[in-house]
């Protein structure tokens, strides 16, 4: 299942976007690039219009609490014709993580970005309809962040008092 986009694509990107292309890697045949958020839409537009990456696979994020910037935001796209795939990564910093939305380039990213906002709390600037998707509208917190405790009901032991416990403590 190795799918390699040609390395010359990285060269073309590097030539065209220079400093905006911060990093590129090829791990197990998966090509990834790290792009400066400021140039993200431009790079995406180029990939779609001139390199034929017409099909959006998914968008998501990874939370690295110890790193600065904390979040990696990822879009993976495919060219149906050339059968190649590229993973576009960019970063977002706390306390107000936000990255440009790519809905203007790949409309299919709409729900994926909503889900990422919902579960990671990363804002997508320019998204037409940034609402929570999976969690209820009234939910507090963003469950896929690493500091969000995933399970564990507070247990009341006999020597503890009930009122000492916050019912929503587990929501992080």
């Amino acid at each position: 299942m190795t799918v390699t986009a040609s390395t010359s694509l990285v060269e073309r990107l590097g030539e065209r976007f220079k400093q905006a292309l911060q990093e590129s890697s090829d791990f197990r045949g998966d090509l990834s690039i790290v792009v400066d958020p400021a140039a993200l839409v431009e790079v995406a537009r180029y990939l779609k219009d001139e390199e034929g990456f017409d099909y959006l696979l998914y968008a998501t994020a990874v939370d690295w609490p110890a790193r600065v910037p904390r979040f990696t935001v990822i879009w993976e796209v495919r060219s149906l014709e050339n059968k190649t795939r590229i993973r576009i990564k960019t970063t977002a910093t706390m306390p107000d993580p936000h990255v440009p939305s790519l809905t203007s380039v790949w409309p299919a990213t709409n729900w994926h970005e909503r889900e990422t906002w919902d579960l990671f709390g990363i804002k997508f600037d320019g998204h037409p309809d940034l609402r929570r998707l999976l969690m209820p509208d009234t939910w507090e917190g963003h469950p896929l962040r690493k500091d969000y405790v995933s399970f564990g009901e507070p247990v009341i032991f006999s020597d503890q008092k009930l009122e000492g416990l916050e019912p929503d403590a587990i929501r992080g």
Binding site: M1, D30, D54, L57, L80, A108
Partner: protein
């Protein structure tokens, strides 16, 4: 287009909740429809009622433990989820899977495809009033569940894969049982087609309804039969063969109109192709081991434990803490009955996934619902949603 109180429709429009407990939403999907009489002016799908946090749960479990989560997402094609999950781990670990394990995976996956399409035929028909079809489809699907049970002991949540192979070899008599299934199915699919394919009511309800053009289908990111019904020749099994699909001779049926009827026709056709694949696997089933001999990831056979201290150590370490993956991120994908099912795995070098993102085909197929139902009659919403074949467990994860 925003969908909120600030975008209030004209006062004569009515807002109608379809779901979350409406039978045609196949699970718990809530669709807010804005109706102008019988005509749908706008729709907003509210998903998440079945959100179970699988992606978060993966982060707390070792790679081997994660297998049992994978089949509970798309609960109508569990074997395909199992294979998708382990293939991401195998890609990360650079593991070779023995040929016999690959063949067994193909058998289970194609059976799952048939059973999922059978279930779809039954329920999508039921939505449109073909009550009898449901019983036939259920009867035939039962045969697949029996095969699942005979192989894995479980009818649905098979969890039969292991990183580097499969958990068990095929039991005695299983291939004969499968052969009987392959022999009986073509006639049953013929019966189904005789009932529906030329049925004027079926045509009226499906033809020209929910049309997605080739360009729109790509833009919307739909996948699987929905993408192929719009004429895009993309099937992971052909485009990026895995588990040895390149050895088998089968067609990928394509549609032209991109309407609900094409999606129906494609799925029926795909069942026939799956039967072809199954027959070829039976005829060419390789012998040999069904699990990799790499003791760092796969448990040693039971018989070795009483003889070799080394095996006992491996067994203990694998069961107690699992194995560690290298740093890196990979994306692996398989063709589920609903389309491309992908697993994006980020490893931080520990024995658990640091992040596991699932690319669920149902989620991607459901997204264009809004554009598909604008301007159609309420009754057609049922036909369109039926033709999308989404599974809410897969959408919400």
């Amino acid at each position: 287009m925003p969908f909120g109180p600030e975008h209030e429709p004209p006062s004569e429009w009515m807002e109608l909740n379809m779901g979350p407990q409406h039978p045609s939403t196949h699970g718990v999907l809530r669709v807010r429809l804005k109706l102008d009489g019988e005509i749908v002016r706008d729709a907003d799908a509210d998903v998440g009622y079945l959100h179970t946090g699988f992606e978060k749960s993966f982060e707390d479990k070792t790679y081997t433990q994660g297998i049992t989560f994978s089949d509970r997402m798309d609960y109508l094609a569990p074997p395909i989820n199992n294979v998708g999950f382990v293939s991401a781990v195998e890609k990360l670990m650079e593991l070779e899977v023995p040929p016999r394990a690959q063949a067994i995976r193909v058998l289970m996956m194609e059976l799952a495809r048939i059973s999922s399409h059978e279930l779809w035929l039954g329920t999508a028909g039921l939505d449109l009033g073909v009550y009898s079809g449901f019983f036939y489809a259920w009867r035939d699907r039962e045969l697949v569940l029996d095969l699942n049970e005979a192989y894995s002991g479980v009818r649905m949540m098979t969890s039969f894969t292991r990183v580097g192979g499969v958990a068990w070899d095929l039991p005695e008599g299983w291939l004969e049982q499968l052969q009987r299934f392959i022999d009986v199915m073509p006639g049953r699919i013929d019966d189904f087609e005789a009932m529906l394919s030329d049925n004027p009511i079926w045509h009226q309800r499906l033809k020209g309804v929910g049309v997605l053009s080739r360009q729109d289908a790509i833009e919307a990111g739909v996948t699987g039969p929905m993408l192929r019904a719009s004429g895009v020749d993309y099937d992971v099994r052909k485009a990026f063969p895995y588990c040895g699909y390149e050895q088998y001779d089968f067609e990928v049926p394509l549609g032209t109109a991109g309407d609900c009827y094409d999606r129906y026709r494609l799925r029926v056709q795909e069942m026939r192709e799956s039967l072809k694949i199954l027959q070829q696997v039976i005829d060419t089933l390789p012998g040999g081991p069904w699990l990799t001999s790499d003791r760092k990831v796969a448990l040693p056979p039971r018989s070795e434990l009483s003889k070799s201290m080394e095996s006992v150590i491996h067994h203990f370490r694998l069961v107690s803490e699992g194995f560690k993956g290298p740093l890196g991120d990979v994306y692996a994908f398989v063709e589920s009955p609903r389309g491309e099912l992908g697993f994006y795995l980020v490893s931080d070098g520990t024995n658990k996934p640091y992040r596991m993102k699932v690319r669920p085909p149902s989620f991607c197929n459901l997204q264009p619902l809004r554009q598909l139902v604008k301007g159609v009659l309420v009754a057609d919403v049922i036909a369109i949603m039926g033709s999308m074949d989404f599974i809410l467990g897969d959408v919400d994860r």
